[in-house]
């Protein structure tokens, strides 16, 4: 890594108040590290998201693995906000249960987050605003007058805006980060803006970098270098919503419509400004019913379209999605899940819309449901959704959630030259005898503008219809058409690959998950194996229909434990567990669920699965009690929530 300091240490601002003395506890970790969790805690106007994002981007550029975690900042300025970056030189799958390094801007940031700091971890705090309990000898304390020094560095007008970049400089020093790459990232970020903004940012960065932190902290750290494998592709860094939006673009989706709601909005914002560049269009509709109807209009016209929302808006779209199922119209519906029901927990994470996706709506209305497991998977699942929607002329749900939407990961750049799909509608004339709802075939929607050689034009209909799309009340036809719509999902199930089992291929316990819990479930299996358990994990992307052959995997394990972020339900099983039990009639399928609105921590999963406390090998102290429930053993929910939910987002 680049060792050249931006400013020699002797240039450090004079008169900087001396930092608090270290707690006396020496920081014993090695200088060469391969994994670090850095948590930044402040208020929403402090720009800690962008500081964290710079770190994530830098890691991505350095071919390191990275994952972030954030709370959605409140729209009302001043709400508490945090951003956590985990940088690793191996495989990083979860954003980390505990932080190695906590930056606290305010007293509340310190109080709310100190429980997440690992024993022996470093608390870096703004000594202008925070008074930590130095008697707590578990941590290493580094007090820096962040506010004062930032104001000093930038002059009075900027106030303390720039603290985030100051901290970035400080972190760059402590972790020996590549300063040149970081500076390039900063100037790229502000490119096109007033030059003075770039200069101000650089000044703040240099002030942070030049701070003599070495006097307090015994040493600096350095990430082990990762050499890019020969022929490996560069990494790109983005959040889950960006990955869905760009995945849709790669998949040839050029039209869509939506209505704003957290945490879906950024997808529609991206598509609204990006699609016109590709000759397409995204429309902000008057409401979600309008949005799904517009999207169906686009699909009808020959361009596979997307709509999306979070739970409340998906509830509104339900009738039209049923129409898409009946009329056999291709459509992609994104549900970026948050806590429900109703307005629920707008900025927290939950996986409680699975049944709504599969069953939401009246009548037998088959549709496809996919769930993305990582940010990278958000990109590829969008492509898979488009493929299925076109091939089977059907509505397809993409389930994501708050945690995927807001976290940033680096992943191998997709090979676009192999992925891009041409969106043009097929207007070639259709031969005589064409039937839009041919009983023998999988329906293929024909867009207007295609000539029908026999002069008979197809209708799409929400009424039960005959093969030409005309209404029928015939019981025979309703049975045949209901079966036709169901059979195409059975056909799809045949072509879905069976997911690979991670860890033990047979044994005592199989963890099963779906969606954003992939990382912590995988890490839980890994940790338990290290401690001698015979355990594997399986993650589902295609949830409805399920791939064929899962029963063969289930047969190899004594317990099947489905881990998901939703309630255990009236009968003691979470939503996926309920479906798997119904599908396989398998009594050994159990459930571990939770509803605290936060992502799973590895330890929570293990404690839920094995009903005993788990400390990892590194001797991490026990985490504060988190509400957790297994089937029949649900504990009372801890009402004193550790994290503050920002208000002002609906």
């Amino acid at each position: 890594m680049n060792e050249t300091p931006v400013v020699p240490e002797s240039d450090a601002p004079t008169g900087a108040p001396t930092a608090n003395p270290a707690s006396g506890r020496a920081d014993l970790r090695p200088e060469n590290i391969n994994d670090a969790v850095i948590r930044l805690a402040g208020n929403s106007q402090d720009g800690i998201q962008s500081a964290g994002a710079f770190l994530a981007r830098l890691a991505g550029r350095s071919d390191q693995d990275v994952m972030t975690y954030m709370t959605i900042p409140s729209t009302i300025s001043g709400g508490p906000s945090l951003f956590q970056v985990r940088i690793g030189t191996g495989e990083v799958l979860s954003s980390g249960d505990e932080a190695d390094f906590l930056v606290a801007f305010y007293q509340h940031s310190y109080q709310d987050n100190i429980d997440f700091l690992k024993e022996g971890g470093v608390l870096l705090y703004d000594s202008d605003n925070v008074e930590p309990n130095l008697d707590d000898k578990r941590f290493v304390y580094v007090g820096v007058p962040i506010t004062g020094l930032t104001v000093e560095a930038l002059g009075g007008t900027a106030k303390d805006k720039g603290k985030n970049i100051f901290i970035l400089g400080l972190i760059a020093k402590i972790f020996s980060l590549d300063v040149e790459k970081l500076k390039r990232l900063i100037s790229e970020k502000f490119a096109g803006k007033d030059e003075s903004i770039v200069n101000t940012a650089m000044m703040a960065f240099q002030a942070g970098y030049a701070y003599p932190v070495g006097k307090i902290l015994s040493h600096h750290y350095q990430f082990e270098k990762v050499a890019r494998k020969p022929g490996a592709r560069a990494q790109i860094t983005m959040d889950g919503n960006q990955a869905i939006a760009y995945g849709l673009i790669a998949a040839g989706v050029r039209y869509g419509a939506g209505y704003p709601i957290t945490p879906w909005s950024s997808i529609m914002e991206i598509l609204r400004s990006e699609l016109p560049k590709y000759g397409g269009l995204f429309v902000q509709a008057e409401d979600e019913l309008g949005a799904v109807s517009l999207a169906l209009g686009f699909s009808f016209s020959g361009y596979l379209a997307v709509t999306g929302s979070a739970g409340p808006g998906i509830s509104l779209k339900t009738e039209a999605i049923g129409w898409a199922s009946m009329a056999e119209m291709p459509l992609i519906i994104c549900n970026i899940q948050r806590g429900g029901p109703s307005t629920g927990l707008p900025t927290n994470v939950e996986q409680s819309d699975l049944h709504q996706a599969i069953f939401g709506g009246h009548g037998d209305s088959p549709r496809v449901v996919l769930a993305a497991s990582t940010v990278e998977d958000c990109f590829y699942i969008a492509i898979e959704a488009a493929r299925i929607a076109r091939k089977y002329s059907t509505p397809v749900f993409i389930l994501s959630d708050t945690s995927l939407a807001t976290r940033i990961e680096a992943f191998d750049e997709p090979d676009l030259s192999k992925l891009m799909i041409d969106p043009k509608p097929d207007l070639t004339p259709r031969a005589s005898g064409f039937k839009p709802y041919d009983i023998e075939r999988i329906t293929q929607h024909v867009p207007p503008g295609a000539r029908m050689i026999d002069g008979k034009y197809p209708l799409v209909s929400g009424l039960e219809h005959d093969e030409m799309g005309h209404p029928t009340g015939s019981p025979k036809l309703h049975m045949a058409m209901t079966a036709k719509r169901r059979k195409k999902l059975q056909k799809l199930a045949e072509e879905i690959p069976v997911p690979e089992v991670y860890g033990d291929q047979k044994g005592d316990t199989l963890l099963v998950g779906w969606g954003s819990t992939y990382g912590p479930i995988h890490d839980a299996a890994k940790l338990a194996r290290e401690q001698g358990e015979k355990i594997g994990s399986l993650h589902l992307r295609h949830i409805h229909p399920l791939p064929n052959g899962l029963e063969k995997i289930f047969a190899k394990f004594k317990r099947i434990v489905v881990v998901e972020m939703n309630d255990q339900g009236v009968y003691g099983f979470g939503q996926l567990a309920t479906i798997l039990r119904a599908r396989y009639c398998e009594p050994k399928i159990e459930s571990v669920t939770k509803t605290d609105g936060l992502t799973f921590r590895v330890k929570e999963i293990l404690e839920g699965v094995f009903k005993r406390s788990f400390a990892d090998k590194k001797g991490r102290r026990d985490s504060p009690k988190r509400p957790l429930s297994g089937n029949g053993t649900g504990q009372d929910v801890d009402l004193a929530r550790a994290e503050v939910i920002p208000q002002g987002i609906g």
Partner: protein, 314 residues
């Protein structure tokens, strides 16, 4: 719908003259005597007269007796869900300027459950023709009060007579920003055809309210505007701009306030074009934005564009 007239048919397939027979599908399921038959007949006439390309006619509807319309037309079409056909039609119109988008529906479909969509379709000035068969009642569900039922109308949901003030369709449409607002009567076929044609020729959200009798559940209600039943069908005299003193007395269709005054007249009121404005359509505005966005990219290919975006994320 002025942007929609150019057609580029595949040269190989010869095109026959579009006849009424070619565009007729199922026999209508309406009750004998229902006003909607005449609307269908007028639609056939217009299509025949204009000789539109068969594959570029799109007939859409929501739910209701009137909304059964697409089944009776042999052409591309969709029978959608109750009240949401305006955004469906908007999607088609925005993505495919080459198509002729016709939307049919009833008073409940358009002014009640679909009221918000109607307002926003109008506000956005989406280029399409929307024909509303207003029978002052819910026909398909058999005689409940509709948003246009007059006060005192005895329905199954108001057995002692409707009490809620009815919607005034002309006022609602004008204030929502519809750029072509007209009113006609199903017994006046020539007038109806004229209105449909003018709506087609108008670029923008063109709405026609047509009094169309439900013989089953609200018979004779429109007789006061039917000369054959002793009523009078009073047509709006539009300004000809011929500098004559009589012209001063005529209606200026671009005058919103004057249109509003006409809409105030007591039932059965007047018929014809109430309001017309040539403000830009969403279709045109979005097209402009798309074109300038494409230009800014140097008309790059899809692959180049997305690759560039990814390069910025490295």
């Amino acid at each position: 719908m002025s942007e929609t007239t150019t057609a580029t048919p595949p040269a190989e397939i010869p095109r026959e003259k579009l006849t009424k027979k070619a565009i007729t599908a199922d026999h209508p399921t309406w009750c004998p005597g229902c006003g909607d038959f005449a609307v269908l007949a007028s639609y056939y006439k217009v299509i025949e007269k204009r000789q539109l390309d068969h594959e570029k006619i799109v007939t859409l509807a929501g739910i209701g007796c009137s909304s059964r319309f697409p089944y009776f037309v042999n052409g591309f079409g969709a029978h959608f869900i109750h009240g949401r056909a305006v955004p469906l039609a908007s999607g088609i119109s925005l993505a495919r300027p080459d198509l002729n988008v016709f939307l049919f529906g009833g008073d409940g479909d358009g002014f009640s459950i679909g009221g918000n969509h109607l307002e926003h379709g109008a506000r956005k000035n989406i280029n399409l023709v929307y024909f509303i068969m207003d029978n002052f009642v819910y026909g398909l569900t058999k005689k409940q009060t509709s948003p246009t039922s007059p006060i005192g109308f005895k329905s199954k949901t108001d057995p002692t007579g409707a009490i809620d003030m009815p919607v005034n369709p002309m006022k609602k449409l004008i204030s929502a920003g519809a750029s072509f607002v007209a009113r006609t009567h199903a017994t006046q076929v020539n007038h109806m055809i004229q209105m449909i044609e003018r709506a087609m020729d108008h670029p923008g959200f063109s709405v026609i309210e047509c009094l169309s009798e439900c013989v089953e559940f609200f018979p004779d209600v429109f007789d006061p505007a039917d000369p054959r039943k002793g009523g009078s069908f009073e047509v709006i005299q539009e300004r000809k701009w011929d500098n004559t003193p009589e012209d001063e007395m005529r209606h200026d269709v671009t005058d919103e306030l004057a249109a509003y005054k006409l809409a105030q007249l007591p039932f059965p009121g007047v018929f014809g074009v109430f309001y017309q404005s040539d403000r830009p359509t969403k279709n045109a505005l979005e097209k402009k934005w798309i074109e300038s966005s494409r230009e800014k990219t140097g008309n790059a290919s899809d692959l180049e564009l997305l690759q560039k975006t990814f390069d910025r994320m490295k």
